[in-house]
């Protein structure tokens, strides 16, 4: 069937159409239906592409937009890594959207609901576009689409601090995007092409000229801003804390992860290993910043009173593991980065989804939603057993307890460090895991072993919120036990990248 051949285009176009439709229809319920349908369709496309990549020649699907052959036309290019990230992003959207319905009911004024869905659709479009495109400038355009809609999503939060957080993210994000486009400009000037594959080939001949190194530096810094690499993460904690719960979950699972994908794409597929790892001290810098993130951000997380902000800081720390994996320049290291990208994505999304339900459970009927600070959580496990238990399970995955997804990524990360002979890094990884134990256990002690205030009744989050969240919780356990999908895909992707990057 011919439709199957156009999956790469459909992947992006379907959510893209859904967004203006949602605006035109101006009705929360209809907009919800349209965007959710588009997200599910996108998820179906991603599954289809994932299957197709396995059979494609050379493990790559190349789709020519408008039938213009690359390097003249825009190419959509799906390899193992891209298909993996597409699955993550569209799958998250497919889960978070049904959750949104009940969640934004009390977080966003009803007349703005259709805009929320429109922005969600656009954000999804942007993230999918970044992942699938094989054109450098296209990456920038999609990046801006996703970023602008993200700023709006954050600003929809009901606290006024959401506005300030969105504004700060807008400034930082725009600087990052501008840096990326400057880097792409240098590359274009030096190679005369925007197609990533073509660019990579032409770069081999002029590798170490100064503009290319400048391009590498600009792109790395720009993307690092977007992926919240320590110390460029200041925009993240407040943005995650004050955005609507559903938006937080979606962004935590996808936005920073797609940025990691962009960095991997540029480093391994465009610049190539020898340039990135041998000409500039980039890996060393990345290594140190990752370690700083793992310790400083996790340490800060311990002292947060707001549960949402606690896990936001934890995200910064966990991004450190991903970038640490990249800095090793080995298949196992890259494997660890890709695995953790996925595993941490589902884990953190589960936690933020559950916190969204938790906030609803804390609220008194009709009153303003409270902030999930620790003093309000005492004895919560009695009132919301499923929510709390879910957070504990996902928290175990953050720690890296065996049997959870987080353990698998940590295993590969440590293996990579051992391979590199850097045993002190092994120690650092393990020590920083202990910090995660501390902040997760703060929650456990308060929720389970502190007496609940008098007169509290059992009040679980609505099922439409619990089910998506618990699917993800089950996912974190499932991918900790049966790893054939995650490890298989990540290893294949890492091998493909390294083979091309040589």
């Amino acid at each position: 069937m011919s439709l199957v051949l156009h999956l790469p285009a459909l992947q992006v176009v379907l959510p893209l159409i859904s967004a203006p439709l949602a605006v035109l229809l101006r009705h929360g319920g209809v907009a919800f239906a349209v965007v959710t349908a588009a997200a599910w369709a996108a998820f179906a496309c991603a599954i289809g592409l994932w299957l197709q990549v396995g059979q494609a020649e050379g493990g790559v699907i190349s789709y020519h937009i408008g039938s213009w052959p690359p390097p003249w036309g825009i190419e959509y290019r799906v390899d193992r890594l891209a298909s993996f990230v597409l699955l993550l992003v569209s799958g998250m959207a497919a889960l978070v959207l049904p959750y949104s319905r009940a969640s934004i009911e009390r977080e966003i004024p009803r007349e703005l609901h259709y805009l929320y869905y429109a922005m969600f659709g656009l954000c999804l479009t942007g993230l999918l576009g970044i992942t699938i495109t094989g054109d450098a400038f296209n990456i920038f355009v999609f990046l801006e689409i996703s970023s602008l809609s993200t700023y709006v999503l954050i600003a929809l939060g009901r606290d006024r601090r959401a506005l300030a957080a969105a504004y700060r993210y807008l400034i930082m994000g725009s600087i990052g995007a501008t840096f990326i486009v400057i880097g792409i400009g240098f590359l274009y000037l030096m190679t005369g092409t925007l197609n990533l594959v073509d660019m990579a080939e032409r770069l081999r001949t002029i590798e170490s000229s100064r503009p290319v190194l400048a391009a590498l530096a600009f792109i790395t810094v720009g993307v690092s801003l977007k992926l919240a690499l320590f110390p460029l993460h200041q925009w993240l904690p407040n943005a995650y804390t004050y955005a609507p719960s559903a938006a937080t979950a979606f962004l935590a699972a996808t936005a920073t992860k797609v940025s990691v994908y962009v960095l991997i794409r540029f480093w391994f597929s465009v610049f190539g290993e020898s340039l990135v790892f041998h000409k500039l001290p980039l890996p060393q810098i990345l290594l140190l910043l990752s370690l700083a993130a793992m310790f400083a951000a996790s340490f800060t997380a311990i002292f947060q009173d707001n549960l949402k902000r606690l896990f936001a800081y934890s995200s910064v720390g966990q991004m450190g593991y991903i970038t640490l994996g990249m800095s090793f320049d080995s298949v196992n290291g890259l494997d660890a980065a890709i695995l953790h990208l996925f595993n941490h994505g589902i884990t953190k999304a589960a936690i933020f989804l559950l916190i969204g339900g938790l906030v609803l459970g804390l609220a008194k009927p009709g009153a303003v939603l409270p902030t999930p600070t620790f003093d309000r959580l005492a004895g919560l496990a009695k009132r919301m057993p499923f929510t709390c238990f879910g957070i504990v399970l996902a928290g175990l995955s953050l720690i890296g307890v065996p049997g959870t997804a987080g353990f698998i990524s940590k295993w590969y990360l440590i293996l990579a460090a051992m391979e590199a002979g850097k045993f002190w890094i092994v120690g650092a990884i393990l020590l920083s895991s202990l910090l995660a134990v501390v902040y997760v256990w703060r929650f456990v002690e308060v929720a389970y072993f502190k007496p609940a205030p008098e007169g509290s009744v059992r009040q679980e989050a609505p099922l439409s919120m619990l089910i998506p969240a618990w699917l993800l919780v089950i996912g974190t356990i499932w991918f900790g036990l049966d790893t054939s999908f995650t490890v298989g895909t990540a290893t294949e992707a890492a091998l493909q990248l390294v083979r091309v990057g040589k």
Binding site: F140, E144, L148, Y151, R160, R161, Y167, L170, I171, S174
Partner: protein
């Protein structure tokens, strides 16, 4: 020196823009800086696309030297993006003014810290 003229202007705009974004506390001024920063990008792309004596890319026997049109197209997109960013930034600034009664960053931060402290206790 003169042959790098456009580059010098580009770098100047870039640094100036970045400086304003970082050093100024007023939300509107920050957006001005951001726009200047983005303008430097437009120049970075377009200037090298122009050939002295080149014309628009029209297929005609008497014209043999023409400028690369692609950067123009790219920058058209980038300008749109820049305008959208500016618009959204201004809209946020307006909402912030309504919510906080100020558009000075340090005052907003002070209000936020006060709110955080209230919640923490």
């Amino acid at each position: 020196m003169l042959e790098h003229f456009s580059h010098i202007v580009t770098v100047f705009l870039l640094v100036a823009g970045l400086f304003i974004v970082i050093a100024r506390g007023n939300l509107i001024k920050k957006l001005v800086g951001l726009s200047i920063l983005q303008t430097s990008v437009y120049l970075l792309y377009i200037a090298p696309g122009k050939l002295l004596g080149g014309t628009a890319p029209i297929l005609a026997p008497q014209l043999s030297v023409y400028s690369n049109p692609l950067p123009h197209v790219l920058i058209l997109t980038a300008i749109v993006v820049g305008v959208a960013t500016l618009a959204l930034g201004l809209a946020l600034a307006v909402r912030i003014r309504e919510a906080y009664d100020t558009i000075e960053e340090d005052e907003i931060l002070a209000l936020d810290h006060a709110a955080d402290a209230r919640e923490g206790s």
